[in-house]
């Protein structure tokens, strides 16, 4: 790890600058979801809240949890939970929604 001695020493500002921008984006999305929840758009109102939640989670997982820099094995482990939940939702809702539609 010879490069370790050559790297430029960071300052606290280096950590705050990038992460504060991400935090500001997360807060802006929070305000947006709060506002959109009060706008009557039918089923789009529900969808807007969920989509914004996915956007916020994506920012946290990719940037705060550093999946963007992680090795493929780590990314695979991280994705496994999401994939299994997606299968769980897809199979269950395929049954439930077909029954609701059949009523």
């Amino acid at each position: 790890m010879s490069t370790q001695n050559n790297h430029a020493r960071k300052t606290p500002w280096d950590f705050w600058r990038r992460n504060s921008l991400i935090w500001a984006a997360l807060m802006a999305l929070l305000v947006l979801s709060l506002v959109l929840a009060h706008v009557p758009m039918g089923s789009f109102t529900v969808a807007a809240g969920i989509v914004i939640a996915f956007a916020q989670s994506g920012l946290i997982c990719v940037l705060f949890m550093e999946l963007i820099e992680a090795r493929p094995l780590i990314r695979l482990a991280a994705m496994s939970g999401v994939i299994f939940v997606a299968v769980l939702f897809a199979l269950t809702l395929a049954d439930v929604l077909s029954r609701v539609a059949g009523r």
């Binding site: 790890m1 950590f15 979801s33 929840a37 916020q56 939940v85 939702f89 439930v96």
Partner: protein, 214 residues
């Protein structure tokens, strides 16, 4: 790798591998947590599909300001936790910054629980606990609040564990009994903390936002 040799544990021969294994291990655990909360959220989704109007009425009965304030608190705690992890990973001896941010993170987590406590008090006073005295006339609204108490309660337990883990790191750090630079324990704790935040983001959308526009 000289700074990290004090952190090397058996059975690993290199610190890099130990660190990688820690990250892989916590992600495997977090995947199981995603499944756990995913199953509860799926239960919520099915109940909501079948009782859309009652869930909208129940959603309106929650206090959106408590929920929004708590979301802002947790998002901010994720910021301070990220600074902790990145300052630790830099290996540049940011001891004061790391300890200050660990303390703020634990404080924000505690603030979340305090706000939740006030919200629970209000909910109990408004008879929003499923049972004979339940306030809302829509029968299926009890399903919503059954899931509300379960989801937020289990989340609060997870957050409490997170606060204890962060406090442990801060305490050991203040007493100089923990090497802070490049310590995998800090990265692992940080990942757990962020996941608790991510779960709350979805709970906020599912619990506090429904029924506001109608």
């Amino acid at each position: 790798m000289s700074e990290a040799t004090g952190l090397l544990r058996e059975p690993w021969e290199s610190f890099e591998r130990q660190s990688e294994a820690g990250t892989l291990g916590i992600w495997a655990f977090l995947a199981s947590e995603i499944l756990f909360f995913g199953a509860l959220m799926l239960t919520y989704t099915v109940c909501r599909i079948e009782n859309a109007d009652a869930f909208a009425a129940a959603g309106r009965a929650t206090n959106i300001w408590y929920g929004t304030a708590n979301t802002a608190i947790l998002l901010t705690s994720s910021l301070t936790m990220t600074v902790v992890v990145q300052a630790t990973a830099s290996g540049d001896n940011f001891r004061r910054l790391i300890l200050a941010c660990l303390t703020v993170t634990a404080a924000l987590g505690t603030a979340f629980l305090a706000v939740k406590g006030f919200e629970y008090k209000d909910d109990i006073e408004k008879h929003l606990v499923p049972g004979a005295q339940f306030a809302l006339t829509e029968k299926s609204a009890q399903l919503f609040f059954g899931l509300y108490w379960t989801l937020t309660g289990v989340h609060a337990i997870h957050l409490t564990i997170g606060i204890l883990l962060v406090l442990r790191l801060a305490l050991l750090g203040f007493r100089r009994r923990l090497e802070l630079d490049r310590n995998p324990e800090i990265r692992v704790t940080g990942l757990y903390w962020h996941l608790v935040d991510v779960i709350w983001i979805f709970l906020y959308a599912l619990i506090y936002l429904p029924g506001r526009a109608s």
